[in-house]
């Protein structure tokens, strides 16, 4: 589904990604972790070309995202993405947030979009809030709406960039629950997160990054069992200790 091969990226002289190669198969859930600044967000944003990269190739569902000729808006509309800070559109109601892209990008009718949107809202447990604005919801609720918004485009895979790290501890679980459910339904997911509980529960594979390199890329059991690199061991001990 997602093939990343030898991707390199520089900001000026600073190399953020070095020879990153990995792939995500259909239905697979891959968790990406690693210390701050290691390039996790950058890598995941390269997948739908929110960040351009200078070397290597990435294909999504067989389409190379770096090609000049690629219809990026179309490709992006098929890849769902959820951000750390939700990024709901604050001037639109929840309903409008859910239907805008369906109408303007997929060309669905208003009714169709509405039906789809409300269905998904129900699924994340927020049907009662359809008329509100994002600012009137708690962080956890906003993030659930953001997931519903991404799903409304019927994506073939989903990208998550630390979806719970901006949340109050109490709200983390309500978001993780939705994500677990999604994973169990067979959605293809690539997910940057520090929530090792989530990784333990649903991940098929874990990728560990450090300084722009993919240092570990192995099954969940291998990762939590015996990560090969010292850096990964160190990271795990820090993160699991408190």
């Amino acid at each position: 589904m997602i093939d990343i091969s030898n991707v390199n990226k520089w900001y000026g002289n600073f190399q953020v990604l070095t020879d990153c190669t990995t792939s995500v198969k259909k239905g697979e859930v891959v968790v990406v972790c690693g210390p701050s600044g290691s390039g996790k967000s950058t890598l995941i944003k390269c997948v739908n070309m929110l960040e351009p990269f200078q070397k290597g190739t990435i294909t999504v569902d067989g389409i190379s995202v770096g090609d000049k000729g690629t219809d990026l808006p179309k490709l992006r509309s098929r890849v769902g993405m959820v951000f750390q800070h939700f990024e709901l559109f604050p001037h639109l109601t929840i309903t409008d947030n859910l239907t805008l892209a369906q109408i303007k990008v997929l060309g669905r009718s208003k009714d169709e979009a509405m039906a789809k949107g409300l269905g998904l809202l129900d699924r994340v447990g927020l049907k009662a809030h359809a008329h509100k604005f994002p600012g009137q919801l708690s962080g956890g609720q906003q993030q659930r709406v953001a997931i519903a918004r991404a799903l409304s485009m019927d994506p073939i895979c989903m990208l998550f960039d630390e979806p719970t790290s901006a949340l109050d501890p109490e709200m983390i679980n309500e978001v993780l629950d939705v994500m677990v459910e999604l994973a169990q339904e067979g959605m293809t997911m690539m997910c940057v997160t520090h929530e090792m509980g989530f990784a333990r529960k649903v991940a098929d594979r874990v990728i560990f990054m450090d300084k722009g390199h993919i240092v570990e890329d192995c099954t969940k059991d291998d990762f939590f069992g015996t990560p090969r690199s010292e850096r990964a061991q160190q990271f795990l001990s820090k993160i699991l200790n408190h």
């Binding site: 992006r76 559109f89 303007k104 604005f133």
Partner: protein, 246 residues
């Protein structure tokens, strides 16, 4: 000379034997001020938005155009720009020159003022629009793209609606500046409020009365603009969204 202000002067004819009295002159000046400001505001908003957007796009050439526009128009004093639009530019564009000769002179002054003031203010508006767009978290643009919007759609549906809301307060001062700056149009002979005020002062020597009247009128106009913009701000406020917060 301040001992006794003669307010009755406002009801005296501008020239002996004519019907027009001074307050009518000042009032007609006020109307020109308002008309000039209003039309210039439309130009400033349209051109300024366009230039502001150009400056934030990923396209190098377009953002160069936007930047060059702003640098040229905000770095020359307005009074000099007025002179150039009125006296210099027509000399180099024969059809414009022909038009300016044949047209009613008042219309020429009005249109020149509106264009000059509008394009000047547009450079300030462009600054605001740009900073409004940049003040949105970068994630908003990314979220737009991630949903499959094109760049134009992202601006239209995601960035601009929020950017405009954010810049209402600085745009209020720009609107007030625009009205104040319209007084510089007196230098090309547009008979707006300050022109009429000076005229009244020089003709009647009642400088204080004339300037007090003008000051009061400007303050009233400024306060009205302020109220209107406050209303705009309230009307467009997004529930639950605290300006500047995320």
């Amino acid at each position: 000379m301040t001992n006794h202000l003669n307010w009755l002067l406002f009801f005296q004819p501008i020239v002996d034997g004519e019907d027009t009295v001074w307050w009518e002159m000042l009032f007609s000046g006020l109307l020109w001020t308002l008309a000039t400001s209003a039309v210039a505001a439309v130009i400033a908003f349209t051109v300024g938005s366009l230039m502001g957007v150009l400056r934030t796009t990923s396209h190098k050439g377009l953002s160069f155009i936007g930047n060059a526009y702003v640098e040229i128009f905000r770095n020359v004093p307005l009074i000099v720009q007025f002179f150039i639009w009125y006296f210099v530019i027509p000399e180099f564009i024969p059809p414009l020159k022909q038009w300016s000769i044949n047209q009613d002179p008042t219309e020429v002054q009005f249109i020149t003022s509106v264009v000059c003031l509008g394009l000047f203010t547009a450079s300030r508006v462009a600054e605001q629009v740009k900073s409004g767009i940049l003040s949105l978290s970068r994630g908003q643009r990314a979220a737009g793209y991630a949903l499959g919007f094109t760049e134009a759609q992202t601006y239209r549906y995601v960035l601009l609606p929020m950017a405009y809301r954010i810049i209402v307060p600085p745009m209020t001062s720009e609107a007030m500046n625009l009205i104040k700056n319209s007084s510089v149009a007196l230098t090309i002979g547009l008979t707006e409020l300050t022109f009429r005020t000076k005229e009244m002062g020089e003709n009647t020597f009642a400088f204080f009365e004339a300037y007090i009247a003008a000051t009061v009128l400007y303050v009233i106009v400024a306060m009205s603009v302020n109220r209107i913009m406050a209303l705009v701000e309230r009307r467009t406020a997004v529930p639950g969204y605290i300006a500047g917060g995320k």
